[in-house]
């Protein structure tokens, strides 16, 4: 498929990228130290050379076969290069901060406003998202278990619950604000509503995932309903449940942040993003976005790690490393 001949000399590729990175760093610091250095032909020639080096280095890295670490390394190096050129070009071209602040400015802003962003994090993530996510997922799971023995209700609820994924549920935010006030409970309520249905649908699907053969085996053991549920059906539903937990983690963050766009007290990541955007304080907006992005990725990674521990026997987990 690939036209590159597989390059099996990792040292060469590594040397390529490392040299380029080292050069880049030197270049970055020298250009940062003297922002008033003329952006002359020499500067642009050096930048162009660096870009070519970067592309070649990443190509070499990407061509490496073997360890999965190479793939990870490639993506990481690519990300670093993007950051680097983002910094370099925004400084060199003097891009207005409103359009695109340099990454370094975002880091500085993150550090400066750490207490503010910390309280925003507590307000949005620890209170609204966590409470809403736990309640929504718990309710979805509970309702799914409760109607497990009622196929009539399932047949009625399932299509409706599936259709809710096409509805902009986050629009209930203004109503939630009227009912539960401006503080975090209204955001948690939106999150509950958004996370409930995916969990319900997934759990119901998961409870049906056990094989007929396995169920008949449990039946031949004279296992009770509860025993079959506990020993067979819930374990085989785990991948479905975890998939819903992971989807819901992202949905919950989106729900809480967007609900804060509709109106919130004076803290919260969504509030920070929307108000600082109207005040054109873009580095802080980007810093708040960074916090929410990191939160989303960490939540996903934690849930994925938990899934590997809890459902280690399942083929979908065993297949991965």
């Amino acid at each position: 498929m690939s036209t590159h001949t597989p390059n099996q000399r990792p040292w060469l590729a590594g040397a390529w990228s490392l040299t380029a990175l080292g050069l880049a760093m030197y270049f970055l610091f020298s250009s940062l130290a003297a922002t008033d250095t003329p952006k002359d032909t020499l500067f642009w020639a050096a930048t162009a050379t660096l870009a070519v080096l970067a592309v070649l280095g990443i190509q070499r890295l990407a061509a490496l076969e073997g360890s999965t670490w190479y793939a990870l390394l490639t993506a990481a190096v690519f990300g670093l290069w993007i950051l680097y050129f983002w910094q370099l070009l925004t400084v060199a071209l003097d891009v207005p901060r409103v359009l695109l602040p340099a990454p370094w400015l975002i880091v500085v802003s993150l550090q400066e406003h750490l207490p503010v962003l910390g309280s925003d994090f507590v307000q949005t993530v620890v209170k609204a998202v966590l409470v809403g996510w736990l309640l929504g997922c718990g309710l979805g799971f509970g309702v799914a278990l409760a109607i497990d023995r009622l196929p009539f209700l399932q047949r009625g609820l399932l299509p409706i619950a599936s259709l809710t994924s096409t509805i902009p549920l986050v629009g209930v935010a203004p109503i939630a604000v009227m009912w539960f006030g401006f503080d975090w409970p209204s955001k948690a309520a939106v999150v509950v509503l958004m996370t409930f249905f995916p969990m319900l649908v997934s759990t119901l699907a998961g409870l049906k995932a056990a094989d007929r053969l396995e169920r008949e085996l449990m039946h031949s053991y004279a296992a009770s309903y509860g025993r079959t549920l506990w020993s067979l059906r819930l374990p085989s539903a785990l991948p479905f449940i975890f998939s819903a937990l992971k989807i819901n983690a992202t949905l919950a963050l989106i729900g809480a942040i967007v609900a804060e766009f509709f109106g919130s007290p004076t803290s919260g990541l969504g509030f920070r993003i929307s108000t600082e955007a109207t005040r054109m304080n873009m580095p802080l907006v980007w810093a708040a976005v960074t916090v929410s992005a990191v939160t989303g990725s960490v939540a996903y990674a934690l849930l994925a790690a938990w899934e590997r521990r809890a459902a280690f026997w399942h083929p979908s987990v065993r297949g991965k490393k």
Binding site: A71, L157, S162, G171, M178, G206, S243, S316
Partner: protein, 302 residues
């Protein structure tokens, strides 16, 4: 990976026969619960404002009052339905009092953004499948972005496009675009890779060029992966378009309608805008499902 059951995946005819009654029962129960909740939630306000807290009134007066309040805590279903109906019939289509006007505004930016996002996703996924460098360097970031609340950068996009002089549809469409773009790209990369080795090798023995292999083998094989992503994408695009309408000074669109409703405490207006946006979401997804059936036939759905 385990997947949740996708909406609209079974044929509607078969569903209606086995599920029609249960769904009707659930909907009826919801309606009854809604009315009960209306009476319960509006009772304090009704007693205070409509009925005399001390004066004589029976429970019938209370129920009547709670179901017909000007600014109820929870409007009764028939109030929402009446508001919807009057907004659709009493005002011309180009009036901001008509909800279809707002549906058109939001739907337009959703569809424009959806078309752009899908096109971008298709092009990028073809590039990723044919370039090992992009596959290794770029794809992990696109996949990772699915666990990140990308909608959070909507205000940034609005500010950037606003300072560049874009207004109207463009900023909303851009937000809808990047929300559609991620699922389409990820699903298409998966789909374009779905042909078996034996099939790609056969194309090779026919001396098919890359373009021929793409056009005759990979793209058709990817279609069952594409459509579920389109359904996800258009729903996400609608949310994006509505969120993008929030800070624009709230003139037109379902999102703006929700916001003005909440500013002025017009609960009935909020609910009818909410119902309308739900209907728009359902209609857009149903259109995608219809397109899927038209392209793939009823059987080949993923």
């Amino acid at each position: 990976m385990a997947t949740t059951t996708s909406p609209l995946s079974a044929s509607w005819g078969a569903r209606l026969q086995t599920q029609g009654l249960p769904i009707l029962v659930i909907l009826a129960a919801t309606l009854i619960a809604w009315y009960a909740l209306t009476v319960y939630l509006n009772a304090p306000g009704a007693i205070e404002r409509v009925l005399d807290p001390k004066g004589p009134w029976g429970w019938r007066d209370l129920v009547d009052a709670t179901l017909a309040m000007q600014r109820p805590v929870l409007p009764a279903p028939h109030q929402v339905a009446l508001d919807l109906y009057s907004s659709l019939t009493d005002w011309p289509l180009d009036s901001p009092r008509n909800l279809l006007f707002h549906v058109a505004v939001t739907g337009q930016s959703t569809l424009v953004g959806f078309a752009m996002g899908t096109a971008l996703g298709l092009v990028l996924s073809v590039c990723i499948v044919h370039s090992r460098t992009l596959d290794r360097a770029l794809l992990p970031w696109i996949v990772a972005s699915q666990s990140v609340p990308v909608l959070a950068i909507a205000p940034i996009v609005l500010v950037i496009l606003g300072s560049m002089g874009f207004a109207g549809v463009a900023p909303k469409a851009v937000i809808a675009m990047y929300l559609c773009f991620f699922p389409v790209t990820v699903a298409m990369v998966q789909g374009l890779r779905s042909p078996q080795v034996i099939e790609t090798e056969m194309m090779h023995t026919y001396a098919a060029t890359r373009w021929q292999a793409l056009w005759m083998l990979r793209l058709p094989a990817a279609l069952p992966f594409l459509f579920p992503a389109l359904r996800v994408g258009i729903a996400a695009g609608l949310v994006g378009a509505m969120v993008a309408e929030l800070p624009t000074g709230a003139q037109a669109g379902l999102g703006a309608r929700l916001l003005t409703g909440s500013y002025y405490g017009q609960t009935v207006q909020i609910w009818s805008a909410l119902v309308m946006s739900a209907l728009l979401g359902l209609a857009l997804t149903a259109a995608m499902a219809a397109l899927e059936t038209a392209v793939l036939g009823p059987r080949r759905r993923a």
